[in-house]
């Protein structure tokens, strides 16, 4: 029976390495996905994810459980991403694949989905990543935490150390910009219904 995060954290604080590695296994993909969407670079996102777990391991005994373990990891990750962005003085990038591999896509297609639909879906995803890369860091982070990690407004506010209303405003403004960017790129609601 899988243990809860809290149980694994308690065991980890007692020096149980296996328990901590279970937490790593459970959270490595969400943490990597967060770093990737904030930074936009695969290798750097992997480095950030590694460093996140390294720092968490070193500091696990000091974790008091006031926030969820996942929120604690998210905070470490976002701090590392922020450091990377400031250090590199670089805006997030949208990594576009060299080309769309039709054969690879065929493996991802659902039975009811044609290759043309799948190619269109990939291109839409790329357009979204480009639109997101244009957002200010605060708006982009708010949207990522809400859309892809399902945090509540309050959890985002706690994580970003800002008022609840600020989170909502950032979300609204960010979504509006993304919507306009997609429209200017020729993407609209009809694209998905085709």
């Amino acid at each position: 029976m899988p243990s809860s995060d809290e149980e694994l954290v308690t065991l980890s604080q007692g020096g149980d390495l296996d328990s901590f590695n279970q937490l790593v296994l459970r959270w490595e993909r969400p943490i990597y996905a967060l770093a990737y969407r904030v930074i936009g670079r695969e290798e750097e996102a992997r480095d950030v994810a590694q460093e996140t777990f390294l720092r968490a391991f070193r500091a696990i005994k000091g974790f008091k459980g006031q926030a969820k373990f996942s929120s604690w990891l998210y905070r470490i990750t976002l701090n590392l991403c922020r450091d990377w962005i400031r250090k590199e003085r670089r805006a997030p990038v949208s990594q576009a694949p060299e080309g769309i591999d039709i054969i690879e896509l065929a493996g991802e297609a659902t039975p009811s989905e044609s290759i043309e639909d799948l190619v269109g879906r990939k291109q839409l995803g790329l357009a979204v990543s480009k639109a997101m890369a244009l957002l200010p860091e605060e708006q982009r982070t708010a949207i990522i935490l809400k859309e892809y990690h399902g945090l509540t407004f309050q959890e985002i506010a706690d994580l970003l150390d800002c008022p609840l209303s600020t989170v909502k405003t950032r979300l609204y403004q960010g979504l509006t910009v993304v919507r306009k960017q997609l429209e200017s790129a020729g993407v609209d609601g009809a694209a998905l219904r085709r």
Binding site: L17, F20, N21, V24, L25, E28, R29, Y32, A33, Y36, R37, E42, A45, R46, D47, A49, Q50, E51, F53, L54, F57, R58, R121, L124, G125, A127, V128, S129, M132, I143, K146, E147, T152, F153, S165, K168, T169, L171, Y172, L175, T176, V178, R179, L182, V187, D188, G189, L192
Partner: protein, 261 residues
């Protein structure tokens, strides 16, 4: 646009109280601009769902070393000490192999070091021991081992020093399944490097042999030309002698004919 952005966002993500929801729904029924705005944001959310990150094989795991904190090294260096160790080992071993043509095998019997040009022999340590007891097979063309035991001991000492220093640096290692190199893989790569070094040496040796063969062939062709020239001279001298003999014979015949008259 009405001042209802926060309510629209709350409605969009289903984080409104029942009172707020009723309030917004009443507003939307009367405000087409906000209704269009809400529909547009919903559509944007649908598009956002299409952005997927890549799915690399992460396989992170924490490996505990000593309890001392890790030094503030660059991340890549800290997370991949085995790579650094492997690189150092390969450089040192490749240099030694280039000098002494050393073959190193590591198995259950321990470390076996062979030197010289007998590297083709795929003898396992156990077989080598059997040969030693029952008569060893040697390559008679192999030169005497060129490895100084003192040099090998020095090499071993330096490798151990590197290993110890790397171990100290990595008190806590976080390695991915791709970043951590298994010992078997490390050994395979070291062997590959040694094999490459041997191949390079053998290629150079083959080039030298080929050059010698070419030199011999050139010398042979040159000798044949000299012999031919000598034969031609000899042939020329013989013809002259024949002509001289013929002249002398003719003169003798003429002289004999005069005497008969």
């Amino acid at each position: 646009m009405c001042e209802s952005k926060e309510l629209i966002v709350g409605f969009l993500y289903d984080e409104l109280t029942s009172g707020e929801r009723k309030e917004l729904q009443a507003h939307l029924a009367a405000c087409s601009e906000c209704s269009v705005e809400l529909e547009g944001l919903r559509s944007t959310r649908t598009h956002l769902a299409l952005w997927s990150p890549p799915l690399p094989d992460l396989g992170f795991r924490v490996i505990s070393g000593s309890s001392a904190p890790a030094p503030a090294l660059p991340r890549r260096t800290r997370l991949a000490p085995i790579f650094a160790f492997a690189a150092a080992a390969v450089v040192v071993l490749a240099a030694a192999a280039a000098i002494a043509n050393v073959e190193i095998r590591y198995g259950s019997e321990g470390l076996l070091v062979r030197t010289g040009w007998a590297g083709q022999s795929p003898l396992a340590p156990a077989q080598a021991q059997g040969n030693a007891s029952g008569g060893e097979v040697r390559n008679v063309n192999a030169p005497a081992p060129a490895t100084d035991p003192a040099a090998l001991a020095e090499l071993d000492r330096r490798l151990r020093t590197i290993e110890v220093s790397m171990t100290r640096e990595s008190s806590v290692q976080l390695a991915s399944s791709q970043a951590r190199m298994p010992d078997a893989e490390l050994l395979r790569q070291v062997r590959q490097m040694l094999s490459d070094a041997q191949s390079q040496q053998k290629t150079a040796f083959a080039h030298q042999i080929l050059q010698v063969v070419r030199d011999v062939q050139q010398q042979h062709a040159s000798d044949i030309a000299l012999v031919q020239q000598g034969l031609d001279q000899y042939q020329g001298m013989t013809n002259a002698e024949i002509a001289q003999s013929r002249d002398m014979f003719n003169q003798w015949i003429r002289a004999a004919a005069r005497q008969e008259k």
